[in-house]
């Protein structure tokens, strides 16, 4: 009886919703939250990827480059784990931006995705105008991405994974090089879907 009541009780507790990141302002009676700005990039199939690609979708975003030997391979290993959990979740996508668009062409990203063994309609690898990528990284996703010739591979960037909801709001930030943190992301995707 005790066990039954405990189970019932624990099910009745409603989990706190995920936070919404960034600044907010009040317009009239509405709160306006920080939203991912408009973007236009090309993915590994040369398809145009914009905010509309993620309309009514939850997505996970990150920044990397294919020739990076430091944290990117770890991030890609971890993101592949996320990808593997999304097979039966058509409402969740992944968006990886290259921060080295001069080297990471559409053809190269195509080869990269194919070798990783992932589907383009689920996991978009995008390239575009370098400044637009850096700008959206910094101002929309709050992720660091810039060129730095003193770094071993020529760039500095954060290993963050960002969880974006259907309204384009950031709902979570995770260290894409840490297995525990990525497990938290996988759990948070489920929480967001069930909200």
């Amino acid at each position: 009886m005790l066990i039954v009541s405990l189970v019932v009780y624990s099910c009745a507790i409603k989990e706190k919703p995920l936070p919404i990141f960034g600044e907010r302002s009040v317009v009239g009676n509405d709160t306006v939250y920080h939203t991912i700005a408009h973007f236009e990039f090309l993915d590994q199939d040369s398809a145009l990827v914009t905010n509309d690609t993620f309309k009514d979708k939850i997505y996970v975003a990150d920044f990397f480059f294919t020739s990076c030997r430091t944290i990117c391979p770890i991030m890609k290993t971890q993101m592949k784990r996320v990808y593997d959990t999304l097979q039966n979740k058509p409402d969740v996508l992944i968006l990886s931006h290259t921060i080295d668009p001069e080297y990471d062409t559409v053809a190269l990203l195509h080869d990269f995705a194919e070798r990783l063994g992932v589907e383009s309609k689920k996991w978009h690898f995008v390239t575009g105008v370098k400044d637009s990528i850096y700008k959206i990284a910094q101002t929309s996703y709050f992720a660091t991405a810039m060129e730095d010739k003193t770094e071993p591979d020529g760039f500095i960037h954060s290993g963050a994974f960002l969880l974006i909801d259907k309204q384009g709001h950031i709902r979570g930030k995770y260290d894409g090089t840490k297995e525990d943190d990525v497990n938290r992301l996988i759990g948070d995707i489920e929480r967001l879907r069930s909200n």
Binding site: S67, T70, P73, I74, T77, K80, D111, E114, R115, L116
Partner: protein, 160 residues
């Protein structure tokens, strides 16, 4: 002592079985203790252990981001090391590519890989020997130690 009585019982059993067997058993024990006590063998075993420990640290610094801690590689991007016919058959090339990198097609276990790997030019000959000892004696590999002088000889012949 229980274990002692078990041992003497088993020796007693052998004695009953055939005296010749006991004699060879004693010789076996003597030869075993002789070899294990030689300092050269002991030093070599210690060196192997040191290379394994250092090699693992270096592997995790320079290699495991791509090839993974458990040597599994990742998809067709980064080839596996835990089981690799390329490693089995191309030891010298493996030594060279650690320092000088490698480009172009690479077939590992029948699968085609084709991503350039940059070499780590700063690796010393000792560090390469340590990494080689680690990757060639971990997972399914049991090659034994890679000596620094082997590395020196191989590096001198690496294609540019």
């Amino acid at each position: 002592m229980k274990s002692y009585s078990v041992l003497s019982q088993s020796i007693g059993f052998r004695l009953q079985a055939t005296p010749l067997k006991l004699l060879s058993f004693v010789f076996y024990l003597l030869s075993f203790s002789f070899f294990s006590c030689t300092t050269k063998e002991h030093k070599q075993a210690t060196k192997f252990d040191q290379y394994m420990v250092q090699g693992e640290v270096l592997y995790q610094t320079h290699c495991s981001n791509c090839h993974q801690k458990k040597g599994t590689g990742l998809g067709l991007l980064y080839p596996p090391l835990n089981k690799s016919d390329f490693m089995d058959n191309h030891f010298e090339e493996v030594i060279c590519l650690m320092k000088k990198g490698r480009e172009g097609e690479l077939i590992v276990n029948g699968k085609q890989f084709n991503k350039p790997m940059k070499g780590v030019a700063s690796l010393t000959e000792l560090e390469i020997a340590e990494i080689a000892t680690y990757i060639y004696n971990t997972w399914d590999h049991r090659k034994g130690i890679t000596e620094v002088k082997e590395v020196t000889t191989i590096l001198a012949k690496c294609p540019d």
